[in-house]
Every structure is written in C-alpha cells, then in structure tokens.
Subunit: 423 residues, 2 copies
C-alpha cells in the first residue's frame, strides 16, 4: 500500500512537471488530477486518462486523499476549493502566490483550526529554497530586510535591454517570442507577481501579516533605453526589486519598483530569468539565494520537496512540522511610499540653457535633497537637454514635492523618469 495519496489541481506546465517528478516516488500515489479541459490531448507516456476530472471538488471531497497539491493558480474558484479541502482535513501544498498574498490569513487560520498545514515553497522564487529555510534553520534570526529579484520575465527583459540597448517594447516582444513573457504581460511587467511574492516573504520574515493592497508597486514599462544607458554610465544596472524591511518603531516598508543597482552588488549580477533573494538577519548576517524562479522542473522541485517532507513527517507523527505552521495574527504596520527614504535617479528634460542646473540644484536644496551626481547628457534637436541627477538619501515625499516644483519652473520641460537607487 502506498503511504500517501494525493490529488493534483491544475495540470499545466507546473502540474505536469510535478506529475513527472512524482513518478520516481513509489510511496506517493496520485489519485486524481483536476483539469480545465478533460478532453485535451496530454503528451505523457503511459498516462492513465481515468485520473482526470474537471471537477476539483472530486479531489477535495475524496476521503482517500490526504494531501491536495494546488498548481492551478488564481483566486476563483481556487480559494473556495482549498477552503473545502482544509475543512475536509487535507494538508495543502500550493504554488499559488496570488491566493496566499490575498487570502493567506484566512487560509492559515482555517488550517490551524482544522489541524492541517499549508506548505508553499513553490509560491515564491520557484525552485529556490527560501520559505522552508526561513521557517526552519533560520528561525533563530530576527530578519530585518529582504531585497530580491522575484520575477524572471522582467529580469529577462531588463537584462536584454541592458546587454543590447533595446527599447522596452522590442525587448518585451523578444521575450514573448521566446516564451519568457505572456501575451498579456501585465501581471509580470506591472509588478503584480513580484508584489504577491514579497507580500508572502515579508509576512513570514517579519512574522506580521503584510497587506498586499498597501504594497507600493511600480512596474518596468516606463524604463527607457536612455535610462539603461545613463545607469550604465553611472555604474549601475536596472532591476525590478522587491523590498521588505523593518524600519523604525517596528513598522515595515514593503514595495516593488525598478531600482538602479550598483554593479558590484550581488543582485546586479543576476541575469536573464534567474531569481535571487538577499536576506539580512540577526545573527546570520547577509545571505543570498539564487536560482531558477520559474519553470516546470524547478517549481516541481519545491512542490515535491514540500510533499516529501510532509509525507515523512506524517508517517512518524500526527503533528507534523510544528515549525511550519503559519498563523500571523499580528498585522504589520506598513509605511506609505511617501515616508520611505531612498537615493534617487531623476531624468529631467530641460531647456538647453545654463540656468537649468542652477534651478535643479536650488529646488532640490530647498526640499532637503542633497545631489551626489548631476550629469548633462547632451542636447536634443528641440534645443532641450537631458539632465540626470543622482541624489543622496532623501525622503520620498520631499522628492515628490521637488518634482512638482521643478515642473513649475520655465526651464524644466518634463520629468522623464524617477527611479530609486540601491548601492
């Protein structure tokens, strides 16, 4: 008799990857697989079509199934399906970042009430071990900061923009052709996917529930070839960074936006679709975890890893993995983007006259902003000049005020971009 019977909900790339990997583990029996389209031809050797159902409730209501593997994604109908599974005392292994970021609190509460656990290594950074290390071997630490590249699509696009000096549109198109970006890339390029992941990571790192709706989020669509070029000249590369940190009074600062990352920084060296997570904790110091953040195989590594740990613990005990239980009763006090402190890159389009730099300097000074670098990037046909400013550490609201004031000045035509900087 097999030790553990599982049902799989979702049979796309990741679901198929999980199915394939599980073929090597004879102690685990797949009882059912819920799919959208039961008639779709599956290209899998010796596949038993009778495993398929188009009704996920057949899995979550099946008394034989002990663990539900959910790799379907989305909130509807998955949220209700998983609530039913938990009420039926099934443990959950899921890769669903959106659902956990939005409804994790209620799911974890319900799981505790029903004495089951939810494991979700695959929900953040694909194959990179991060959730289980934070919950286990790093649990002596007070984690104070996470800075991470959590989305392969945007990192791929930014890498290509940097290497080949492509525009965003051209790089996106190439990424789509190569399968790195979806036809509708919004979830990736506008930072939603990254925001779900940093919400989950911050919540377990700081042990306080982070509200996804309070995460400041900015995507990469505004990044121009000109920004990439200016950044390169200044010794930076542009990355979409997820940031979570504890600031004064135990408040937390969680956000997603592009940043100029200094070339010597380890995150600057993470290329193409690779993900990387830099974690700062006491006593451990700084750790960096790097690897494939998506794809069938890496994601299956995390899903099946969770499942095997659960299986071996279930065999030994009725109370598996006490340290993996999530129940974040404390609500994080999240600060507003206006209250954050950053260094900034500001790209300004100004009249090509000697006064412009003076005006920028004066307005920045009035708003408590120290400029560390100012660089005129040549003039354009319309007799305007591109000016790039790098500031010292300043308050976001001061910078926003300065930008408003700059726009009122006659010699400033346009603020081309405002990006934050990581050194």
């Amino acid at each position: 008799m097999k030790a553990l019977k599982v049902g799989i909900i979702g049979f796309g790339t990741v679901g198929t990857g999980v199915y394939n990997v599980l073929q090597d583990f004879k102690d685990i029996e797949i009882k059912k697989i819920a799919v959208k389209n039961i008639n779709k031809k599956r290209n899998i050797e010796n596949f038993d079509e009778t495993l398929l159902t188009d009704n996920p409730y057949e899995i979550v209501n099946n008394p034989e199934i002990g663990v539900v593997i959910e790799v379907a994604g989305g909130v509807n109908p998955t949220y209700d399906v998983l609530k039913t599974a938990i009420q039926n005392k099934k443990h959950i292994v899921t890769a669903n970042k959106e659902l956990l970021a939005k409804e994790g609190s209620e799911l974890f509460r319900l799981a505790k009430e029903n004495g089951v656990i939810i494991l979700y290594e695959a929900a953040v950074a694909g194959g990179i071990p991060i959730i289980m290390p934070i919950k286990t071997i790093l649990c002596a630490n007070k984690i104070t900061k996470i800075a991470a590249i959590l989305n392969g699509t945007t990192n791929y696009i930014l890498t290509k923009m940097g290497e080949k000096e492509l525009s965003y549109d051209v790089a996106l198109k190439q990424a789509q052709e190569l399968g790195y970006a979806e036809t509708d890339p919004t979830g990736d390029v506008e930072g939603f996917d990254t925001a779900y992941k940093i919400a989950i990571l911050s919540t377990i790192s700081f042990n306080k529930k982070v509200n996804i709706n309070k995460i400041y989020r900015e995507g990469i669509t505004k990044i121009t070839a000109q920004d990439i070029k200016a950044a390169k000249e200044l010794g930076y590369t542009i990355k979409l960074i997820a940031l979570g940190q504890v600031v004064e009074d135990g408040k937390v600062d969680v956000r997603v936006h592009p940043m100029l990352v200094a070339k010597k920084h380890l995150l600057a060296k993470v290329k193409n679709a690779t993900n990387s997570i830099m974690l700062t904790g006491k006593p451990v110091g700084e750790l960096v975890f790097t690897g494939a953040g998506a794809g069938a195989e890496p994601t299956a590594s995390s899903v099946v890893g969770d499942l095997l740990v659960l299986a071996s613990e279930l065999e030994a005990s009725n109370h598996p993995l006490p340290q993996a239980i999530c129940n974040h009763t404390e609500i994080a006090d999240q600060i507003d983007i206006g209250d954050t402190f950053n260094e900034y890159y500001i790209a300004i389009n100004a009249s090509n006259n000697p006064g412009a730099i003076g005006v920028i300097g004066t307005i920045c000074g009035k708003n408590n902003i120290n400029i560390s670098t100012i660089m005129q990037k040549g003039t354009k046909d319309d007799n305007t000049a591109e000016i790039v400013v790098i500031t010292e550490r300043s308050k976001e609201s001061d910078v926003q005020n300065a930008l408003q004031e700059l726009l009122k000045s006659e010699c400033i035509k346009k603020i081309d971009n405002l990006l934050r900087v990581m050194n």
Copy 2:
C-alpha cells in the same frame, strides 16, 4: 518549566555566540557548559559561573539534558564524548566538521541505533542554510554536482592577492593580523578544512559515504602573484574550490584544489571571507547559496536553528525530523584525481628560444591535450620565458604525463604551476 534542557560543550567564539543567542529563547535552558579552563575570566554580563564544568562527561551523563550542543571541535576527546552522549539517548547539534568527516558513519549509525538524531548545519559554511535544505525541501532532487567556496580564510587571502597583487606570504600575514587566519594556518591554507566540509556535503548530496582519505586535496600555498596576474589577463580569478560530482557509472569525483574561475561565473564574484555553494540537481537546476561561512553570529544562527527545529519537533512527537536522519550505508566509489577530466592552466618556465612553444604544442598533442590558449609572458633576466597554457578538457593523467615529458625536454626549465580551470 523550560521545554528543553541543553548542555554546551566548548565555549570559545562559537560557544559564546550560541550562549548569547539562546538568551532570547526562554523555552531553552542551558544546564551546563563544558570548558577547557574553568578559571578563565568570561566577559559575559550576568554570567552564572556555576554553569561551567571542565568535564564534558558531566554533560553527556546528565539525565536532565536532552540535547548536547558540541562546538568544541577536534576528534579527541570529542568523539568519545559524543558517543557517550548518543548512548545516553541525547540528540546532538554539532559544528564539528572534522569529526563528522572522519567518524560520521559510526556516529550516525550509533544515533540510529539509539533513536536520536544528529544535526550539523553549522559544520558546513557557517550561517548558510545548506544541510537542512538538502535534507528537506530539496529532497525530490538527484544532486549531481556541488562546486563551492567553503573556507573564508583562503578566499580572503586569494581576494587580497588579486585586488592588491600581493604575494601569498604577504597576504597571509595580513590575514593573520586581521584575525582571518590562525597563527598556524595549515588547516585552512592546505585545504583540510575545505576537505572536511566537502566530504560532509558530498555524502548527504549523493547519499553515499565519501571517504575523507580519498579526497584529493591541494592548498593555496603554491599560488604566486604571477599566477594571479596571468589568470586576470585571461579573464579568470583564482579560488580554492571544493568539488563533488557524480561521474559515469555512479562513481563520484570529490576534491579540493585551487581553480581559475571565469570572471562571469557566480563563484568568481564571491569575495573576502564569504562562502558560496553552487548545487546542481534534477529537477531544480542550479542553485547558489552565499553568505558568511564562519564567525560567532552566523555559526550560532545555524546551531540555534537546528536546536529550535529539534525543540519544536520534540514537543510534538517522539520521532522528530525523520527526513534529517543520516545513515549512509552505501559507500561512494570515489575516482582518483588521475581519472578526472578538467581544463588546465599550466605555467611553464622555458628557454627564451623560438622552439619552446613548438615543443609544448607537440608534447601536449602527443598526450591528447588540446591547447586553447598559449601566451608568452615576457622574458626574464636569465634569458628564460614564462609561458602560460590553457588547455581544453583533458584527462589529468594525460596532463601529468605531458608535464613529465616537458621536463625532460632541454628547453623547458620548470613547471611553475598546474591549476585547474572552471568556466
């Protein structure tokens, strides 16, 4: 009542670090600390001197103590002390890489027999989570390769040699003055410490007992400023690399030696005392774990992490952490260095005459060695020339034969160095 009572053996830097971190965990009570010198003044606030003993058997024979934390190091008397602890049914948390590399098999066997477990995250790469991830979340993987920087002292020395073009002796002296190297640096610079760690890592990664005595080991003392310079010109940096890989027929190739690492490789970017482990597995692909490999605080993170996981599991169950049990019954079939395949860097001192390069080319060709780069590095006062060769992938025994043959040739004065290359 405290949930868990522990004894600590060893109270140097790491032991004190563990003591300090444990002050934040009120559920864990330190019953006894075994030290070498009971009269030594300890610079710890509110320290209860009655905790100290100079007899570690007072800890391992104390029926109240559930877990023994061993951070004393060495094989004698620690091996016997820990065997007694295990026979007395105590779980072990240890940072002792030498003991595990040399006597791990017997300790794990004894632990299994007595129903206790040995955790040892701190034995490899200090604060970096690697042992527990391999034993838990990565357990769906077949790990095929580990390439790692596992010794902070040697990486610090090599970094300084590279940055400031220092000789080995000067860099070692600076490292000693700054506390990065010990007065007798042999254990670090000759690669013993690294060999212990790769023996442990390879054993759990390949799930076959690796024999420490069969690990080929070469330290960094032969590396010259000239090698560093030539490597830099060719686009490489020199690192002490621990390598463990599965080769044909399930044999394993485990070794420690300096390598020229291509500048774009992630391991080339690991500087100073930082450690980094690159792991290749199926399905996960390539993962890189980077962080502090030594020091009181990072090491305490791993020791206390192991302890807290153990504590929470012990509370829930009598059979904690089934997936953490080590019992490597299968012996690894380790191949000899002569049977390995590598790319090579060969530094040759030759007569400054036009025939030398021809001789090198001919002898390499005869021994099945393809040269990818050959570079004359100027002439010396004694009318000899420095010639650097980079080969394509070749068999070590062929290369050794070629070197013997080169030395018999009149125009070859000396083989200055032979290093392996990682691209």
